[in-house]
């Protein structure tokens, strides 16, 4: 996978009269008459111009101020949704919240007589919705949208989160002709600036602003006014089965590394290098402070490890205790808001509450356990050039036992010991040790999504086929299967439902083993019976062996692929059919064997027929050896499925002797 991350460097050079915000309320006839966007004729709308500006105010409490202004051409009614603007507003608490003011919006359109008309947004029609504890949304919709209209709007946002310099997202769901961002960075604030995505800046410039920042006390400092411009930005079009769009969308990010306190002159580090982060995290009450509470967990784990002598069985017992005792409240993050004690005693907590509790508990039993910060697949790939704490949204445990390490997440009660949820298998994680410097580790799933599926069938004289269907599920397949079974109130209810789903195939008897032994493969065994596919009186019986679990349709139908394909887990599936025939029958023809391999060990597909004394066996193996495939591999992936589906259509022919 390409790394779409680069660091921007700039030097300050004085330039007179650099670009600035464009005037509000102006349009050109060319813009009004524009019929299509020539660089992307499929676009329903295009951003004509967009300007943003962020600076640290010198006002009380030093709020960060962000101004936004955009002018958008709407070609047809498919893009009318662009005319509804939603701006999320963050609330820290009742006293500290983001505030939006000076909203102005206007629509220009041609009326029935071809005259250009202008309608302004009535401020009465700006709505403020309280979404939840942390978020509000300010919403408005532009009046008088017509095919070919131009909309323009702007607003002013003040935020108390002055260390979170506003990210500028160049790329959106519609193309942009011109996007400009002006960042005013006080000299006493140092930022790491990074540009993500495949596109380069068209222009990038910096100039010096004298005495621009004076937050009181009679002191002031200069700023760098930096301008980032990108022109002709294509729309971002997401694809199915893709990893986080954030990994690919062109945007510019600012991470504050340090600033100078202007009253004391002291240099305050915000993020600088991992050494500082390690120190901060270790002393952070919501992180290191919780991990250190092993004495608290000691009492709570004593009973489950009593009598156990080796570390592995102790670790497993503690893992099961936390897994069974705490319910995940679906919040992610790496800091425990109310502390692990409260979470443990209330049986409910976030990812951090549960897994920090697990780490403390394992350490309390003398098992060397570290915390691993990571970013889930949905959340995107982390920046590894310098530490960005907000890049991480998850924490898991790494228990080091007998020279091996076991990755543990106790938020899912059905996860076996040592398996992380698939969403956590994302590039690299940062191992946080309370005594040693932190370091990167690869996040690799120790197991695949893997299954052994066997059918041992006998064609009977009465025209029925009877036999045994056995499935062994491992790794992520076992996890998925256990979840499917546990959706029912009992195993019997599951089997009853499965029998219904199998339609013409009837289950006569069933056995399911290791449903609750999560560290063992899940095994299912069903005695089944169904009618042979053709009338037994005919001399030839065509038989399609893929009557259960066909793929049927290629999941990959597009000609091209721009972004990597996220297949979830590595996949390994083996299907074995043994078909026994009555004496008077023989196998007339079987389809050809298939042996197909993707380049660079990407995957394999094998079909192998063999004759046995009273019939035949078929072995059908499908392997996908990567969880993420690059766009270059897409054609091979697609062709693998093509060949699988072709094989599914072939038939065996049985014949009366």
């Amino acid at each position: 996978m390409k790394r779409l991350l680069l660091i921007i460097t700039f030097s300050i050079s004085p330039i007179v009269l650099w670009a600035q915000d464009f005037a509000f309320g102006q349009y050109s006839l060319d813009e009004i008459n524009m019929q299509k966007y020539s660089k992307d004729t499929s676009a329903h709308a295009v951003v004509l111009k967009e300007f943003g500006k962020t600076w640290l105010s010198s006002a009380q409490d030093i709020p960060l101020i962000h101004e936004y202004h955009a002018k958008i051409k709407i070609f047809d009614s498919q893009a009318f949704a662009q005319g509804t603007i939603e701006i999320p507003i963050y609330k820290i608490d009742n006293n500290r919240y983001e505030d939006i003011t000076n909203i102005e919006a206007v629509t220009y359109y041609q009326d029935e007589n071809g005259q250009v008309q202008k309608t302004e947004l009535n401020p009465k029609n700006i709505f403020h919705e309280k979404k939840n504890r942390y978020w509000d949304v300010v919403k408005f919709t532009l009046p008088n949208l017509h095919k070919g209209c131009i909309i323009e709007y702007k607003y002013h946002l003040e935020t108390p989160l002055r260390f979170n310099f506003k990210t500028w997202i160049f790329q959106s769901d519609i193309p942009k002709m011109y996007s400009e961002y002006e960042a005013h960075l006080p000299a006493v604030y140092n930022y790491n600036v990074s540009l993500r995505g495949p596109y380069k800046l068209t222009k990038n410039n910096a100039e010096l602003e004298k005495d621009c920042f004076a937050p009181g006390g009679g002191v002031s400092c200069d700023c760098s006014k930096i301008t980032y411009i990108m022109a002709n930005i294509p729309a971002f079009i997401p694809e199915d089965y893709m990893t986080a769009p954030k990994n690919f969308i062109s945007a510019i990010y600012f991470e504050l590394s340090d600033y100078t306190d202007m009253n004391t002159g002291a240099k305050m580090k915000v993020t600088k290098d991992w050494k500082d982060v390690d120190y901060d995290m270790k002393h952070d009450e919501s992180f290191g402070g919780q991990i250190k509470r092993s004495s608290l967990m000691k009492d709570r784990t004593q009973s489950v490890i009593a009598g156990k002598t080796d570390e592995l069985s102790k670790a497993k017992a503690i893992y099961r205790l936390i897994q069974g005792n705490m319910k995940w409240n679906h919040f992610t993050g790496w800091g425990s808001e109310d502390g692990i004690k409260k979470a443990f005693d209330n049986h409910s907590g976030s990812v951090a509450d549960i897994n920090l509790c697990l780490i403390a508990a394992l350490n309390s039993a003398g098992i060397n356990t570290e915390a691993v910060l990571l970013s889930t697949r949905e959340h995107g790939v982390v920046n590894k050039l310098y530490p960005v704490e907000t890049d991480f949204n998850y924490v898991v445990a790494k228990a080091n036992i007998g020279g091996k390490s076991y990755m543990l997440d106790a938020t899912d009660p059905l996860l076996p010991f040592g398996l992380l949820p698939l969403d956590c298998i994302n590039d690299q994680g940062r191992v946080m040790n309370m005594d040693k410097p932190s370091y990167w580790m690869d996040l690799v799933a120790p197991e695949k999504k893997s299954r052994m599926f066997a059918l041992d069938l006998t064609l009977q004289d009465n025209g029925k086929i009877k036999g045994v269907m056995t499935t062994y599920s491992y790794g992520y397949e076992a996890l998925d299967k256990r979840k499917a079974i546990k959706k029912f109130n009992s195993v019997d209810e599951f089997v009853e439902d499965f029998d219904t789903k199998l339609k013409k195939i009837k289950i006569l008897k069933s056995e399911i083993h290791n449903l609750d032994s999560l560290d063992m493969p899940l095994s299912e065994k069903y005695e089944i019976e169904f009618d042979a596919p053709a009338n037994m009186s005919s001399n030839r019986i065509p038989f399609n062996p893929y009557f259960i679990d066909r793929i049927g349709e290629n999941p990959f139908k597009l000609q091209e692929r721009n972004y990597p394909v996220d297949r979830g887990a590595m996949y390994d599936d083996k299907f074995i059919l043994t078909l026994h025939l009555p004496k008077e029958y023989m196998v007339e023809t079987v389809p050809q064997n298939v042996a197909l391999a993707m380049p660079l060990q990407g995957g394999r597909f094998l079909v192998n027929y063999e004759h046995i004394e009273d019939g035949l066996t078929l072995s059908h193996v499908t392997q996908f050896n990567r969880s993420i495939y690059s766009p270059d591999e897409y054609p091979y992936l697609k062709e693998m499925f093509n060949k699988i589906i072709q094989a599914e259509n072939t038939e065996i022919v049985l014949k009366k002797k």
Binding site: T84, T119, K130, K139, P143, H347, N489, K503, K504, T650
Partner: protein, 622 residues
Amino acid sequence: MICNAQQNYDAGLIPKPLLAYSSAVVRYSDQEIEVKDLDNTIYHIKEAITVLNKNGDKHAEIAVWHNKSNIIRYIKGAIYNAAGKPVGKFAEKDFEDASAADNSALFEDSRVKHYQPAIIEYPYTVEYEYEIRSKQTLNFYNWEPNPATGVSVEKSVFSFTSKPDFKINYKEINTPNKAVISTSAQGLKTYAWHLDNLRSVKYEPYSPNPEQYLTMVKIAPEKFMYEGISGSFTNWKELGQWVYDKLLLNRDAIPVETVEYIKQLTTGISDPKLKAKKIYEYMQHKTRYVSIQVGIGGYQPFLAADVDKSSYGDCKALVNYTHALLKTADIESWYCIVKSGSRKRSFMADFASMDQGDHVILCVPFKNDTTWLECTSQTIPFGFLGDFTDDRWVLACTPDGGKLMHTPHYAATTNVIRRKADFVIDDKGELSGTMVTAFGGTDYDTRDSFIDESYTEQLKSIREAYPIINMDIEKLEFTKAKSSDAVTTENIKLKAREFAAFNSDKYYFKINLANRADHVPDEVRNRSTDVYINRGYVEEDEISYQLPAGYKPEKILLNQTFDKPFGKYTVSMHLNGQQLVYKRKFQLNDGTYSKDSYQDLVDFYQSVADADAYNMVLVKRN
């Protein structure tokens, strides 16, 4: 008030039959409504639910809806363990308050307070109660004691109390017990219903509308107050009159320029229907749908003049605006309240209440040619309702009062997808040719939904729409529906490499390449409800294949008919030299059929799925 103070929540006391197929059991549910005044109704809700396993957790999540006119007075609750011993308490401060607005709405004043107890030992019982004060008396909560699938009920009670001068009408649907009516010493009148021991039900496919088989009590006031507006009704005529007089009247004035423009637009058109069509298309072109619901705005449309100015509105606003535009051309039209959705739901003939609808459409009562208009879509053809509001009873609010009217029924034979294709399969197994498909009736928007998309997007959607392996589209065209007999036509020129898989000197391919029915409904043991088919349709496919030279079909060609009251399927294959013609016709008839016919329906679909899955095998001619 029923006293539950000494309730015993020992899970062992739950009657055995209530445990089957259950993940939770409602131990009791008590819903009390008391009208104190025309603008003051108190809801007192109390419930206890025992959760048997993890799957039942979701039923213990408590959600209390509220807004500016429905104010929570208090919420409190407690948790009990398996033996029924109290182990914890919770209160309103433990609830999270969130917006409950529909995501597609620009603004809605609707909120929910919710709380999910976190308990790790099963079974456990959650008992809670809350009170809400509602500032109106137009709508009351229904009593709907039947729980979700997988939940059983030990006891459920419902009561309505008011002063004797507050009169109500009520409707009992499938209630095992009639209302018990009593008067208290203070002179308050109470109506009460109860129901015991409801077993868990399983989901039954093709079940009828809930009012056909579930218990429900609906209550409507005679005199009421809503957002400061008073009224009274005992039937649809009076309710429709109130809507007309209090919510609609004098909201249809439009600026004189627009009046002039409409006059100009319709000059020279004498046929009122053509005039209406012109005006409707102008409205479609001018406006778009934006939903804003606050206070009386939930029932009252924006002024037509405001829509004229802003060019947007919700269903009420756009219907009222269209009505206003038609009025300038002296065309009468009626604002009609409807229950929307693909599943057809009608207003009750014998019971009027305001809560039965959720959408508004416009009826234009031309003589002998009543025309219906959906005003929220920019693309739907004039006079066509589609599957959102078809074939159901709706309330027309006219100057002469309300009346129930029935929207058009699109019969199976109207909802037709007709496909004709001509293909050649070459010796490499590649398929090439053209395929033309017409989508009619309520099926028209299966293609209309992306007809205005860019060509690139259309190609993507079409690739997803067909299961044809390696389909490569060389040309794609759509023809738009523009009249009330809506038909969209799709014309594809395509190629598909390795369509016929070549293996061991044989070709294999799916004879029904475009339209395989592979879903067979699940069998249901001891079905309790009738079989209901909501909407009928017809599919007709005629596909011709030129087979590779020197090859012929190996198996017997299909020639089958399955004929049932609810549907008919015919499939045939004819070989004429190297040309193989495949014909398929599938018809499903809407209607209600006895529950005994369900197995027939399953078998019918199974036969269809088997026939559709027919795998063509070609072998060398000798």
